[in-house]
Symmetry: C2
Subunit: 240 residues, 2 copies
């Protein structure tokens, strides 16, 4: 269920109140709902916005920009722990949180104004936890919260939304040790349910429709998973 | 909506009839429904099953098995166009279809019997198209069909379900040229909606519950996309 009518978010805004009000108009939150909020909205409320006029690009940023505004590239490099792949203007990096994604999650679309870019939240799990606590305060409902963003993937076209922050939810469903109908043990089968939920929510949110939050209802996945649990350890990762 | 009560599928079975019957019990199919069917079911109906007793492993298969049955490794190599990463027993390869996934999609879980493995459908888009046509024949409804499988991803823990075959649906939603609320043009924003739909369906299917198909209702994404449209061209891909 997409939540319509969220106002344009500015630094300091109470996003949970916007979500609670929009949910109220749609019949109200229920316990065990998963509330998915687009990263862009969370970042703007947290002031994670950079004015490009304040940025002086390094020579390296100019060299690898490939047509992008070099000041934006400078911001991307500042958010990057490590460059994973570079084919200007495409820059895939590992962010300080450990996410591997295009442009370190720095984005100019849906920014509050021209000549500004939006960064990922400093700690998306904290953001999710705060939203969850505030939604409980406002509505009395115990919900889960995901902060979602659109990530590309190697080998496949297009982006899918994934969970970069989580609170109140199992994010990975570990079936190791369970058996299928023929008695075969399902080795190492772990499902990234939080990413599937974020992707499902994207289907009713959209990038242009201005629907920046959604409710996913009917799952029983209460838990204590974190968005960072979805990051593969660099040591196990064959692609870093 | 997960479709309960699908019988165990054997070679030659009419999967569309099983789906139509299960859907009927759940209130019936509607036009524009997306019917998501697990790859394993489609493969079994198409006889894409190999008895390991019939396989003689090469020396190479023995060397790289890392504890896996070398006959299964031999089958994986037979389904592989190219090995992308190898850390025995983990083997990520490009399949003959162009998918990059673990074990070339060859799987022993949910196989029809011990000592057998299930391969991906020979042409999952054809499989989807046939299911779609047959569902139309049986129910009069014009639905879309996705054939789904669980794929791992670099950098992130856990699998998500993706669409390996499609019929009657837009699989990629291309927002290039559309503008966000501030007038910023959304460059190169393409959403892999078919993968998000497959992931959403997984949430109500599960690996152990024996729910091998689901209906996703309420989207308006009729189109002519194919599962193979979701494969990134090798030339554009920075990770092959």
């Amino acid at each position: 269920m997409g939540l319509e009518g969220l106002p344009e978010v500015r630094e300091g805004d109470d996003v949970a109140r916007f979500v609670a009000d929009a949910a109220e108009r749609a019949g109200g939150l229920e316990d065990d709902d998963v509330v998915v909020v687009a990263q862009k909205v969370v970042s703007k409320a947290e002031g994670r916005v950079v004015e490009l006029a304040s940025v002086r690009p390094s020579r390296f940023a100019e060299q690898i920009s490939g047509g992008r505004d070099p000041r934006q590239t400078e911001v991307i490099l500042g958010e990057s722990e490590r460059i994973v792949r570079l084919r200007p203007p495409l820059l895939i990096s590992e962010t300080r949180h450990g996410f591997v994604c295009a442009s370190a999650g720095v984005d100019a679309s849906n920014a509050p104004a021209p000549e500004t870019v939006v960064l990922l939240p400093a700690d998306p799990d904290d953001s999710a936890e705060r939203l969850r606590a505030r939604l409980h305060e406002l509505t009395g409902r115990t919900v889960a919260v995901l902060v979602s963003d659109s990530f590309g993937r190697p080998w496949r076209q297009g982006t899918t939304d994934v969970a970069i922050g989580a609170a109140g939810l199992q994010v990975l469903l570990d079936l190791t040790g369970e058996r299928d109908a023929t008695g075969y043990e399902l080795h190492a089968t772990t499902i990234a349910v939080a990413d599937e939920i974020a992707g499902a929510a994207e289907l009713v949110m959209g990038k242009t429709a201005g629907v920046a939050a959604a409710i996913v209802r009917g799952l029983s996945l209460a838990g204590t998973g974190k968005g960072k649990d979805l990051i593969m350890d660099a040591g196990r990762d064959l692609f870093r």
